[in-house]
């Protein structure tokens, strides 16, 4: 029966996340964002330790490893919205944990001991983060929607040498490089064929000799999340660190992974909500022509548009998250995840743009949050999960049945609860 009320546990997590965002993130968010050097913008390790203490960093990890055991996507969306209300970049914490949990508990893992070792390490070390490395300078969108020519897709190679792979290549736009201890890295183990036949996934400890951070990317927004290049120069990775079959192919690998498109979507809503709340307050206080600008229809109409778009997006994202959470009981609807995510990204840009319009000259001042939130939301519109355009293209293929949707049978995850179908790392 349809019911929109939150459980006690969800309300509790919502409160923890909101208090954390208000007390720990907001007070430092603007200053970090304004650092000229992108290396200084990232939130680590100070904030991460506090995040750990609040129980948020390990909330997704099963109880038996010492985590919070929260395995539904909806709760993650609720928490993601609150964290991003503090700062969009801090939501990266959540994604690191959901990813490591889902990958290491999936059927890709051959060596259960190895998985257990790393999950326990993750819980133990309060500054542990992971990253996932796909994008390269010459291949972005075509990785999201696999183009199976030998000339397309990532070029980073892994060549077998005894019990090791020797990895060479360069990835860019990768989150958490410099802080992450593990990097899930897509490589070509057979470059003479396309990614569907020649790609594999390796788990790379970042202290491996021959692995190093390259340039740190200096972005318009989302600056509290660090993105950088990784360079592999004859890095030796043990074969047992391969996840899934050699040359398993990108779709086969991704089918076992779980994504975070909806957590990102909820994050966009959180940041846009922050802008809406600030605008509402400002419009009630700011007097023009003898009355608060909120009472001028040209402003009032914008406020109600913002409210409408936020509520529509949250309803849609929660519904999509719920669908993933109950995927055993109802048929999977793969385009919904992507469509909800694209929609939330789009409206977050509309909302922050309207917030800027309401604040006029005040909004562009870097001493206020408005222009930062505007940059953050637009930054993600263009870049998260391949950018909104790519999300729409993927949704479109899923919708027309050409790509993405598979049966539950094909989508087996051994633990946890949610799968973003066709929405891998």
């Amino acid at each position: 029966m349809v019911d929109f009320s939150l459980t006690e546990k969800q309300l509790e997590y919502q409160k923890i996340a909101h208090d954390f965002a208000r007390d720990e993130i907001r007070p430092i968010s603007l200053e970090l964002d304004h650092k000229e050097d992108p290396l200084e913008c990232a939130y680590m390790p100070h904030l991460l330790e506090k995040f750990d203490k609040a129980g948020l960093r390990t909330m997704s990890i099963p109880n038996e490893y010492g985590g919070g055991g929260v395995d539904d996507l909806l709760t993650h969306c609720i928490v993601g919205e609150e964290i991003s209300w503090g700062d969009r970049g801090a939501t990266g914490f959540l994604l690191s944990t959901t990813k490591v949990t889902h990958v290491l508990l999936s059927k890709l893992i051959g060596d259960k001991e190895l998985a257990d070792y790393w999950l326990r390490e993750y819980v133990k070390d309060p500054t542990f983060l992971i990253g996932t490395a796909t994008t390269e300078p010459l291949s972005g969108a075509e990785n999201q929607l696999p183009y199976n020519g030998a000339d397309g897709g990532y070029r980073t190679t892994a060549v077998r040498d005894g019990d090791d792979y020797i990895v060479n290549g360069k990835k860019h736009f990768i989150s958490n490089v410099g802080w992450a201890r593990l990097m899930f890295t897509f490589v070509r183990t057979n470059p003479s064929v396309g990614v569907e036949q020649g790609a594999s996934l390796l788990m790379v400890p970042m202290d491996t000799p021959g692995v190093r951070m390259g340039k740190v990317h200096n972005k318009m927004g989302y600056r509290l999340n660090q993105n950088a290049e990784i360079i592999f120069e004859n890095a030796r990775i043990p074969v047992k660190y391969r996840l899934g079959d050699e040359n398993g192919g990108v779709s086969a690998i991704r089918r076992h992974l779980r994504g975070d498109a909806l957590i990102n979507a909820a994050g966009q809503i959180g940041t846009a909500r922050a802008a809406y709340e600030a605008s509402l307050e400002y419009a009630k206080e700011r007097i023009a022509s003898g009355r608060p600008i909120a009472h001028h229809q040209s402003v009032g109409l914008k406020l109600v548009d913002m409210y409408t778009k936020l509520e529509a997006a949250r309803s849609f994202v929660w519904q999509a998250a719920w669908r993933q959470d109950v995927r055993n009981e109802i048929p999977i609807d793969p385009p919904m995840t992507l469509a909800a995510s694209a929609f939330a990204h789009e409206i977050s840009c509309d909302v922050t743009k309207m917030a800027m319009e309401i604040h006029a000259g005040v909004g562009v001042q870097r001493e206020n949050f408005l222009e930062k939130w505007f940059r953050d939301c637009h930054n993600m519109l263009f870049s998260s999960d391949g950018g909104n355009n790519m999300k729409k293209v993927r949704a479109m293929y899923a919708l027309t049945g050409e790509w993405g949707a598979r049966s539950e049978e094909e989508n087996p995850v051994s633990g946890g609860a949610y799968v973003a179908v066709g929405d891998g790392l």
Binding site: M1, Y307, S315, P335, A342, M396, L399
Partner: protein, 405 residues
């Protein structure tokens, strides 16, 4: 706790409504719409009788009087989407039932069980019974909905007390169902020196009361299966008991006892948009251009995914808003959840805009075929845009929401 599953009863209602739309409405909808005489376009007795037979006409009325007893807004939204998938104009049936239930079912507005019993039972027993609510007049439309309470604003139709009766004079227009509904609820001024929030009352006028006559049938661009007509009231005398609520209780007081019509209309817009989307998806798969189905051209499929996205977002929002209304009125797990008065108009205008956008895209993808009357696409488009002004129009809906920001 969060749950999006429908109850078995809701699923059954949804199926019932969908089958009705498919088997009874669609086969005649296009022809009715194309009839140049607006009086003949409007859906007529045969359809209503069939709806009555399967229980759709009276689903909203209390069981006690012979109705279906479905009293939640949520279920009505689900049914509205399906009926409107058949034809947008047919949903008026649902509004008729919910309105009479809310107006007469409420002790404050209608203290007399005798009156309640009489009319609700008549409604259930007569397979052609519909009601009509008359508000708009040629010189006052949106200001009735977004009350501007000045003596010179709002409707001018007056009711003057004369012993145990009121004498009503005036004229209403754009009124749904007028002429073949059997009971009219008419908004009047009982104190002309005050604005409608202090000087208005609501009167119940049976169709066959002397002095009631019917003017022009409005000839509309779309939504043609719904009859809209002028109502003329010339020295119409009704007993004082036919007044609902206290004299001069004002429009806001009355409206507090109604609920949810806006969201039933919003859900109907989604059904309409979905119909246009489904046809367009099908068309895009079959129509070949430049050597492949047009769905394989990104210029087309990008539009399709935008349509899909807008429909899903609108449904998720409208159903959430409906759930909020139910949770406020009926409670959840024994406790009432406070309502958010801006949410209904907000979800409503959003759904209306989505329907306009989706039907426009449907027409664009259909190319020349999209404007041809042999397909329903151009009807969907006209229907969607015709409703831009409903419930005060999208601008007015925004203003209602603003008031509660």
């Amino acid at each position: 706790m969060f749950d999006y599953r429908l109850t078995d009863e809701q699923v059954a209602l949804q199926q019932l409504a969908h089958e009705f739309a498919e088997k009874e409405i669609r086969p005649i909808g296009l022809d009715l719409d194309h009839n140049p005489d607006p009086a003949k376009s409007a859906y007529m007795e045969p359809l209503l009788e069939k709806a009555d037979k399967v229980g759709l006409r009276t689903m909203g009325l209390p069981e006690k009087y012979g109705g279906g007893g479905v009293d939640d807004l949520f279920s009505h939204c689900i049914v509205a989407e399906e009926l409107s998938w058949g034809n947008r104009g047919v949903c008026g049936m649902l509004l008729s039932a919910t309105k009479i239930t809310h107006l007469l079912g409420n002790e404050e507005l209608c203290p007399s069980e005798e009156i309640r019993e009489k009319w609700l039972r008549a409604y259930c027993e007569d397979p052609n019974f519909l009601i009509s609510t008359a508000t708009t007049e040629p010189n006052s439309g949106s200001e009735n909905l977004y009350p501007y309470s000045a003596p010179d604003a709002g409707y001018r139709t007056s009711a003057v007390r004369d012993g145990d009766e009121y004498v009503i004079n005036g004229m209403k227009h754009f009124v749904s169902n007028i002429g073949w509904a059997k009971l009219y609820f008419v908004y009047v001024r009982t104190d002309q020196t005050k604005g409608i929030d202090e000087g208005a009352s609501l009167m119940m006028v049976p169709r066959d009361t002397p002095g009631v006559s019917h003017g022009r049938v409005h000839d509309k661009m779309g939504y043609r299966l719904n009859l809209n007509r002028e109502l003329i009231l010339d020295n119409v005398r009704i007993p004082v008991e036919n007044r609902l609520g206290p004299e001069n209780c004002g429009v806001s007081y009355i409206r507090r006892h109604m609920r949810g019509d806006a969201l039933i209309n919003a859900a109907a817009m989604i059904g309409l948009a979905r119909a246009a989307y489904e046809d367009t998806l099908e068309y895009s798969r079959n129509r070949v251009a430049s050597g492949k189905p047009i769905i394989e051209h990104q210029a087309i499929s990008m539009k399709l995914i935008d349509m899909y996205t807008a429909i899903e977002a609108a449904r998720a929002y409208v159903l959430y808003a409906a759930w909020r209304v139910d949770a406020q009125w009926n409670g959840v797990d024994g406790k009432n959840i406070p309502g958010d008065p801006k949410m209904s108009p907000s979800a409503s205008y959003f759904a209306h805009e989505v329907a306009c956008d989706v039907t426009r895209a449907a027409m664009e993808i259909h190319g020349g075929m999209g404007v041809m009357k042999e397909l329903p696409i151009e009807m969907y488009f006209r229907d969607a845009h015709n409703m831009m002004h409903s419930d005060g129009g999208n601008i007015m809906k925004r203003l209602k929401a603003i008031r509660n920001l």
